[in-house]
């Protein structure tokens, strides 16, 4: 799966959030980090879009929307002819959003400071995905990055890696599979014998749990069917 991350941030170099995200996918060959500038080469942009299976709009929330950089890019690149019309050049691709905001998660609900949920605020992108026949992914929203603890930052780091590169990031089975494959790779590249042995033992438990879960789920399914009969 190829992913194109379209980063729309007017002060990209100063953003610690964006630096963390960029670092987390730095070694991923199938993920292209593409920061927008005001100079837009429409032909090249469309070429990048055509090559991608998953397209991510990544931006800080400015007045409940993306910075002007992204809107300008949308207006120039996503013309009716390209995105809809007879070509539907983006059809069947996935559209993901990675949005950062300085407000707390709990403020995005009726009766709270922001009044509206994040899903409501991001609705124009959902409409865009719908119109262009793309599959809209659940957005990854980063609330108040500066207040995240080290462990929370590490969780974001790993979650973002899967959002960018795991085709099945939104199911637990897909996450298990991803972690398992990363762990196997780690075992193969670890030089210290004691660490390698520990990783192998952990991997055996992870695999065994995965098998147990599949067996239990099947048993429950059979019991449900028996009850329905």
């Amino acid at each position: 799966m190829k992913t194109l991350v379209i980063v729309a941030h007017p002060k990209l170099a100063e953003s610690t959030t964006q630096q963390l995200l960029k670092q987390s996918i730095a070694t991923y060959e199938n993920v292209t980090w593409h920061p927008l500038t005001e100079l837009i080469d429409v032909v090249q942009e469309r070429q990048l879009l055509r090559q991608a299976d998953r397209i991510i709009f990544q931006f800080p929330l400015y007045w409940y929307s993306a910075p002007a950089l992204l809107k300008q890019w949308q207006d120039k690149v996503l013309t009716t002819k390209f995105a809809t019309g007879s070509s539907f050049s983006l059809a069947h691709k996935e559209l993901g959003l990675v949005v950062s905001t300085g407000s707390a998660s709990k403020t995005f609900q009726p009766g709270a400071a922001e009044q509206f949920t994040m899903a409501e605020i991001l609705r124009p992108y959902e409409a865009l995905a719908n119109k262009t026949h793309m599959k809209y992914l659940s957005p990854l929203v980063i609330y108040q990055f500066p207040y995240l603890t080290k462990i929370e930052q590490q969780r974001l780091y790993a979650t973002y890696q899967q959002y960018a590169a795991n085709s099945k990031f939104d199911h637990f089975a897909g996450q298990e599979e991803w972690i398992n494959s990363q762990l196997k790779r780690k075992i193969n590249t670890t030089k210290k014998a004691a660490t390698q042995q520990s990783l192998q033992q952990i991997q055996a438990v992870l695999q065994s749990n995965e098998d147990t879960l599949a067996d239990l789920a099947m048993t429950v399914e059979m019991m449900k069917q028996d009850e329905d009969d």
């Binding site: 637990f172 438990v205 992870l206 048993t219």
Partner: protein, 58 residues
Amino acid sequence: MDTQKWVQQQVMTLIENSLDFKEQAFYQALQDTLTEQFKRIDQLQGEIDGRSWNTANW
């Protein structure tokens, strides 16, 4: 010590011995995945137990 405690202690030791943010992030994700697995196993076993004791099916 049961398997869950043992394996999660192993991962914790790896986190503590690592000085690399990226590596720690991976081990933390591994720890979270194991926690979720054990939780789901427990829930499914509970569900099977509950359905087995459902007198309506006896």
